[in-house]
């Protein structure tokens, strides 16, 4: 249970930490703002968990997927508007990401908390997972900050575009999972290259939305949505300000 808690907490927390780091450099957000948004995100995730079982029964047992798909769209749009240095959009993106990912871990925590001898490994695994994710976040922050100093804000916008577009791949999978979208094109198999449940696979998945067996539709959506994000981000940024304030 210790290892499961550790892996679960890393899987669910890493995407949140990565987005928080990206937004705190692009918008930028102070540590206090990130902390407040995180608290709100935890509260929203708890509410989500409370209503999840009920929501799951709506729309012919597809309610949960519809809510998750909506969250994916909200994250994509809010991340895009964040490129205009909007703190509100950054807060929305962060809270929606926490609701999407943390709710899974909270369901796990709440379910197994009362099991015999489970509390200790649950807590220990969670603390270790949180520690690893925060350490990764700090290292990523300094790495990206040095990139901003040398190359400006654009590499971060590209990374945010890839990260936000990855949420649309989740949307595609969810839509296909409940038979709303018919993805008939064959799946590609990259499992011989990087397996998704390896250490590198998990980091790539959280950072860029890597999938070892993506459909051709997913690849097209990924490419087109990334380009659309980058073009719109440029248009929004130019309209808003001539001088990017990224990292300042």
């Amino acid at each position: 249970m210790l290892i499961t808690s550790l892996l679960m907490s890393i899987n669910q927390l890493l995407p949140v930490v990565i987005l928080a780091v990206l937004l705190s450099l692009i918008v930028p957000l102070s540590q206090r703002q990130v902390l407040i948004h995180s608290m709100v995100g935890i509260a929203v995730s708890l509410l989500f968990v409370q209503g999840a079982a009920w929501v799951s029964q709506l729309f012919q047992h597809r309610g949960l997927e519809f809510i998750q798909m909506l969250l994916c769209v909200v994250i994509f749009v809010a991340a895009l508007i964040s490129c205009r240095h909007s703190k509100v959009a950054a807060a929305v993106a962060l809270v929606a990401t926490m609701a999407l990912y943390l709710s899974h871990y909270m369901i796990y925590l709440v379910s197994f908390w009362h099991s015999k001898d489970a509390a200790e490994p649950l807590l220990l695994g969670t603390f270790l997972g949180v520690g690893i994710c925060i350490s990764f976040g700090v290292l990523l922050f300094f790495l990206l900050e040095s990139i901003v100093r040398r190359a400006g804000c654009q590499p971060l916008i590209v990374l945010l575009a890839l990260n936000a577009t990855a949420k649309l791949l989740i949307l595609l999978d969810l839509a296909s999972q409940i038979d709303v979208l018919d993805i008939t094109s064959n799946y590609l198999d990259w499992r011989g290259f990087v397996v998704e449940n390896s250490e590198l696979g998990r980091v790539l998945k959280a950072l860029l939305g890597y999938e070892a067996t993506p459909s051709k539709t997913a690849l097209w959506v990924y490419a087109i949505a990334t380009i659309v994000f980058l073009v719109l981000a440029r248009v929004l940024n130019v309209k808003h300000t001539k001088e990017p304030v990224c990292g300042s």
Partner: protein, 114 residues
Amino acid sequence: MNKWIFAFTMMLCLPSWLAYGKEYTLILKDHLFYPAEIKVPANKKLRLLIDNQDNTPEEFDSFDLNREKVLYPGRTSVIYIGPLSPGRYDFFGEFSPNTARGTVIATEDKNADN
């Protein structure tokens, strides 16, 4: 006009209906999936019914199938998969990954489970 719209819609849906496969049931009990291996026809869309008979939730997860769904206790969940190329596709319960494990094996029609 409405007839033409109806006919056009039917035409669009036809390939999807033709490609549609069978329904398969998985049971989760004592943190184990039954059956642990399902043989399914390749290149068909399939409906997977998962009945969680445990008193704790589980999360159906598969990196190979790109599927992730919370299975609430005492409830049946539905997941659509495929069309799959022939091969093995592992899945597991994310909350009990050591015990709740299984594989979808996509093969030619004649070898698939009923």
